[in-house]
Symmetry: C2
Subunit: 564 residues, 2 copies
Amino acid sequence: MKNKRIIVIGGSAAGPKAASRARRLDENAEIIMIQKASDMSMASCGYPYYVGGFFDDRDQLLCSPAGVIRDSKFFWNAKKIVTHVNTEVTSINRKAKKVEYENLLTGEKGTLEYDKLIIATGAVPRKPQIPGADLDGITTLQSLSDADYLRKVGEEGKIKKAVVIGGGLIGIETMEALNLAGIEITLIELLPQLLTFLDKHLARLIEKYIQTKANVILRNGVASFLGENGKLKAVKLNDGTEIPCDLAVVAIGVIPNSKLAKDAGLEISPTGGIVVNGYMQTSDPDIYAVGDCVEIPNLITQKPVHAPFGDLANLQGRVAGENVILGNVAKYPGTIQTGVCKVFDYGVGSTGLSEQNAIKLGFNNIETVVNTSLDKPGFMKGQLLITKLVVDKSSGLILGAQVIGPGDVSKQLAIWAIAIKGKFTVEDMVNADLPYAPPFSLAIDHSIATAHIMQNKLRGLFKGISSEELKNKLNNKEPIHLIDVRNPNEFEQMRLGIGEKLIPLGQLRSRINELPEDKNTEIVVWCKISLRGYEASLVIKANGYKNVKVLEGGIMAWPWSREK
Amino acid sequence: MKNKRIIVIGGSAAGPKAASRARRLDENAEIIMIQKASDMSMASCGYPYYVGGFFDDRDQLLCSPAGVIRDSKFFWNAKKIVTHVNTEVTSINRKAKKVEYENLLTGEKGTLEYDKLIIATGAVPRKPQIPGADLDGITTLQSLSDADYLRKVGEEGKIKKAVVIGGGLIGIETMEALNLAGIEITLIELLPQLLTFLDKHLARLIEKYIQTKANVILRNGVASFLGENGKLKAVKLNDGTEIPCDLAVVAIGVIPNSKLAKDAGLEISPTGGIVVNGYMQTSDPDIYAVGDCVEIPNLITQKPVHAPFGDLANLQGRVAGENVILGNVAKYPGTIQTGVCKVFDYGVGSTGLSEQNAIKLGFNNIETVVNTSLDKPGFMKGQLLITKLVVDKSSGLILGAQVIGPGDVSKQLAIWAIAIKGKFTVEDMVNADLPYAPPFSLAIDHSIATAHIMQNKLRGLFKGISSEELKNKLNNKEPIHLIDVRNPNEFEQMRLGIGEKLIPLGQLRSRINELPEDKNTEIVVWCKISLRGYEASLVIKANGYKNVKVLEGGIMAWPWSREK
């Protein structure tokens, strides 16, 4: 029997994973991987940290955990995989089951037959179609050569000012990297918020934090790049503002690199991703596709999404690598679009649906809550966490969680990600049994406390108001009675200063007569994080007040400026 | 209508939580909490860290997050809860629905009627019934006064040598605390291993690590305490060894403090815990019990267990506090016995069943695997994690996970804890969607990679051998062909030295003729963590060898001494 030949197009993440998995399942298959770039298996998610100086040895981006560069020799010796680098597949002939390729350095062309083909062509950065886009000093942070360029910029120290265009994950990571390299950054975002996987409230908190490190401009796009002698000198925004800079990094998103698949007549989704089934198989049963070039189902909505995450690319590669060898035995179920990024000392992430996305997708019966607390006890140097939880109001099914803060964000996200995958309701989380010891968490873990508040809210015990709702009411000059229930010394150190009265929780019962006589008055109470605020709201309600709300997340989750 | 009176016996963790929850649900109930000690709501899990000098302000053990000491004034002002400290409830008259109490300072006695009673009397440390047990210098680390005593010992610096008796959670935490206070420690454990929630293999790895900081003596108990002038001078072990010391901390476990409940005729389990139903209700419908004095169901086995964890005490308190006010509406489902502790730079923990416990409980069709990897990329200063996963062989249902190492152990445990609660199978974890970015995790998270290996093992692709099995085979002088497949420089730096031959993976295919001719020869391969070992095993198998195994977890999980 002739050995099966597997051709993998793309050698970054999903491709090598698919090729390696295929090899492990069949020592005799002929496996050939064709990579357009000169490097393979690059740790591309690590580029911002190389640029930002978290480590200096560039080889670490290209090495196996044992410290061997993953080049053609490595792939052949360790995995018996033939690799062609600097080589582009120019067309797929599905009828003849052949690919045509061209070596980009030598111009040499060739043809290879396949039994099974795996397309892992990744995504390409969106590029702004505006004047000056070809000036020197404009880049993306997508390839290793981009990373090399930006690292050199940082090391040389000549460039003092840069503009990062795009406030998504890559834009934010690039902003941090260049800031750490000592460059003054302006971050530009066309939308009214950064990081659109977050709801506005949390995005605003991150924006506030980033503003301590960089200039942030929202609701403004780039109209043109201005230059002198072919070199970038400034960025001109839609509103006419000119921002002098010697460097601009464009990070306005990526689109599936599906041209090759499209030209071959494979089914492509309206938004450009290659259409695959659960086996990662395209509309041609002998061709699979994986990674940033495909669309996969969102597990909550079952609608296809483009989810260009490195971890998912690897998992999909594993599935396709298995199926090309064993037939369709492995299924990739889909994503809940879990993502996280580091922003200086903060972690920022989301899993499942945000409120904004849920509403956009037609969920019309959701409940949300914001919880603020430390991640572990203060005496163990606990750090702040802010979580926004989104659930289905009738069933209590958990739909999504966003977590930000200097605390242990990634653990919180992992907890919610598994809970969402497991179709947990709030009730399932309320008595979860998580690892507790003071060096690692609070006695009632932040995630469980969040579920408690949500449970109280669903049952009508906790009536919350979001920062945004309160702000709107204040802007509309609605008559609200505002009460801060912290201690006087806390009030002296920090306060919102939006017209609130201080009544410490411990005095509230004896000072209840200081509240408005009209029991229908809208009353909003808070404390630092709103645990005391919650207790206060119950005391006030028990005294006959009918419209008492707790400011969710307390002062720590207030995203606008404070009096002090 | 007369207000309901709730009496809570016990003011440490579960009691205050129950009282506070009751208050939040009924502003008018009369709530009285009776506490034997002088302090309330102590962060008792924080004692070892106070002793070990992680923080210096003792008040932090007693303060609310807002910095207010949780004394009687606090409970009254903030929560309208009456508290009696230094007061012991001496009996419960169930017929008359009364408790009798005595103030331990003044001798004053009294009686209080209740509508609902909550027993939260906690646990008491086991004490060795051996000669010399009343000498000065012998203590436990159970109460705040114990913590004060040990903290003073550390600050005074007079005591140079101490013995910690008991290698469980508290013993290990105490050992660390006293070591950090500059005291030379000997840790004594009667059983053949430390930390019995771990399987032997992982316990042995922890023992090896602790031995770099303290002397560890296993399989030996304390026969007597030896003293001079009423002061401890040495500990005499069962085998006659005398260990000079001025301090001994006894940490041989705790037993439910259920005497009061027993005397009142409430149902008590054979092992001494108060029997409660899912509502945390005892055999008397007007009496609830919560925390370390009760037994609760293990969610996997449905068998009752004593699980004295601070987080569970709080959750149970919340349930009972709700039920005494609203009737039986809240249920506490039970525990999967998730636990974690810090041991110097290591985290150590378990959730669900260990292999040993599963076997003891009659599970006779389980599969296990050990996975070793970094928690995040090496270039982001990733640290080692070692996980042992236990699953049901036929269904793939996840039964338990143990995780140790300097890496992010608590996140891994949280992931497995939620997965076990969600009744995940290995297949559910294989494509989990966890938060990935290089500062937080590997592209394929350690937990997912563990599931991958288990999936491969269940399908017969990965044939593993545990360190213990291999060690036994070596001891029995079974003829095994041993191969280390790392690079020569790695082999020079570190190796097991148990008779293995070095054949780097990259050379294996061309050197396959160096393997024994007999294709039935038992071959065991490994690398540092056994990813390359796995690949090597597949290459060897593909060459016709029928008995090829991978050393699970590789060199990093080898719990015995190495050649280098």
